[in-house]
Amino acid sequence: MNWRKVWTIARHEYLTNIRRTGFIIMTAIVPALGIIGLILTVLLLPRGEAVAAWLERQFDVGRKPIGVVDRSGYFTPILPEYRESFVLYEDPEAAEAALRADELQAVLVIGEEYLESGQITALTRESFGEAALADSERVRTFLVTHLLAEQVDPALARRAADPLGNLQARILSETGQERGGGMVFTFLIPYFLALFLIMTIFSSSGYLLQSVAEEKENRIVEIIISSVRPTELMAGKVLGLGALGLTQVLVWLGSAWGFTGGMATLLALVGSVGIPARVFILGVVYYLLGYLLYAVLMAGVGALGTTMRESQQLAGIFSFIAFIPYMLASFVMINQNAPVARVFSFFPLTAPTMMMLRIPLGEVPWVDIAGSIGALLLSIPAALWFGAKLFRVGLLIYGKRPTMREIWRILRG
């Protein structure tokens, strides 16, 4: 294996394809999206609270007021700020009637000796314990505020009633403190990250395919084959275009880094999710193994086609197979260790995509990780052998695509 020639081929493939408009556009998409996102969030920041409140109202179920029968005297009259959600009733029967009539969510009966004994009854129509609990924050602040109202400074009363109202969540990570993200970001960002990685694998493999099929269609392949060994040619293309894919990923990661760094200092509203080192390292491993497997198979299969279109059709099967985990994404998101997810993790052609979907979602059994990597490490040499043979012979067959029988004969040697 003449590595100098492999380098020459790799460099040629890299430089030729990095100038393609398609590649430049695709690589620029992520920074472009980042810029758009930045602009949007800057525009929305002054109205951030209004946006948050609006979002909250979209998810609000609508609540009825709570009836209060006050025998202790501390809650009569009800303070102005609570009058919308709490209604005072002199007469317990009246309150019950209103509850039966569905005008109230619940009735709170506060006992005469409430201060000493804490006696308080909550009456609801169904055993909707949840409903009562959901409102317990409001009920708690209602009770505390009223109890303290006459005794202490109003500001103290308010703080005592709602000590955690302005809680800021932060996560301690390797690098320091990160802002706590919402559920949305924990799911979506890894999902899109994995999706982008898959996209680079397939765009690089696509260029590989194109390069092989083009040389065949151009008929220049015969001169090439009289200059280098087929394995050197294949290695050069796989490595050169792998480097191209990596370049794309680095541009994306770099711009994402720059943007989240920028956003974190600018905004308090949007959280960014720190990617744990474990996810990152495994992501790189699966990316490299996944690319090697697909690239080699694509090169071999691509060499069988007689025209560019044919080669693309043949290779399309692999793209489809690799995408199966994404079709199952909704199941995997619910439980990343579901049996269906585990099965696809061990099958080499779906392992990279499935694992990259599972790992950011939470703990994955190390058996799955070791097993899927093992399966890939075993299948890559097999694919290399298979692909190289197809490559060697396919390159010189013009005019008609070999039949399955002929392919079988070729493989047997």
Binding site: R4, T8, T16, N218, E222, I223, S226, S227
Partner: protein, 301 residues
């Protein structure tokens, strides 16, 4: 010898493409590799270039194995093409580098040959922007840009206009002058006659004619002389037929009559002999005779 082929055999399923073929090529010569379509010429070339492995036989080229010789061999295939979207000079340098040439040297040689082929102002154009004739010339340059010692040209004249045919002939002459060896495979027999020193005619994978062109022509020469004179007197001794041909006369001789006897007879009769030679037989006729003769043979069996 620069190339030695011993008992070379290659089979594809039931088809025997090359059948126990043996021949040699001398350094510095122009060797004609001839044969009808499907005779096995391209398969033979591919085996010498280590593109396809032989089933049996041995090939020694440039003192070593085909694999070792690859960097020093140039190849213009019959099914040929070029990169489309790359610049002319970049493509030539890349192809030379694939052959193991040094970058700077390759660039220099590429520019030299582009100039020789009248393409120097197209060095930085994209290949697809060149006219068809220019691309054809470029293909020839691509085959020799890495300064090979042995060059295989498979149907180099195919599709060329007369001007470009002359250009390619010029290239072959230049290569010869540089001491390179050329193996020329073509159907254009008239060009073979002009260019080649020795030939090998293959039919159905087997060698049917092999050796110096002059010897072969002599072997097939009809017992006749060609005389250029105003007229030929009848009744010359030993002349059985007189046929006008190409502005001269072909005189068929009886067995036992030597050409010089006829010359003496003509001079004695006072004929104004302007030219006299043993009648040449065009290689084309030899080709057809040998190949169809073999066809008939096989039909008979």
């Amino acid at each position: 010898m620069i190339l030695q082929v011993h008992h070379l055999t290659k089979q594809y399923g039931d088809l025997v493409a090359v059948d126990d073929l043996s021949f040699e090529v001398e350094p510095g010569e122009v060797f004609g590799l001839l044969g009808p379509n499907g005779a096995g010429k391209t398969t033979t070339i591919r085996m010498i270039l280590d593109i396809v492995p032989p089933d049996a036989g041995r090939i020694t080229v440039l003192g070593g194995t085909p694999a070792a010789a690859q960097p020093r061999i140039g190849y213009l295939p019959e099914e040929r093409g070029l990169y489309r979207n790359v610049r002319v000079l970049d493509m030539l340098v890349y192809l030379a580098e694939l052959k193991g040439a040094d970058r700077a040297r390759a660039r220099q040689r590429a520019l030299e040959w582009l100039a020789r082929m009248g393409l120097e102002d197209r060095a930085h154009s994209k290949v697809k922007d060149l006219s068809r004739g220019m691309q054809q010339r470029l293909q020839v340059v691509a085959a020799i840009v890495h300064d090979p010692d042995l060059v295989f040209l498979d149907e180099p004249f195919q599709g060329l206009d007369p001007v470009n045919v002359e250009r390619v002939k010029g290239v072959i002459a230049d290569l010869r002058q540089e001491g390179k060896t050329v193996v020329l495979s073509t159907h254009q027999m008239n060009l073979v006659e002009v260019l080649c020193d020795r030939i090998l005619l293959i039919n159905r994978g087997r060698s049917v004619l092999y050796g110096p062109l002059a010897d072969i022509k002599r072997q097939f020469a009809p017992h006749a002389v060609r005389v250029r004179a105003p007229e030929i007197p009848p009744g010359l001794p030993g002349v059985v037929a007189i046929e006008p041909k190409d502005g001269a006369y072909d005189l068929s001789l009886a067995e036992g009559t030597a050409p010089r006897d006829v010359l003496r007879a003509l001079v004695d009769r006072g004929v104004d002999v302007q030219a006299f030679e043993v009648a040449p037989v065009p290689l084309e006729e030899i080709f057809i005779q040998v190949v169809t003769g073999a066809q008939d043979e096989s039909c008979a069996t």
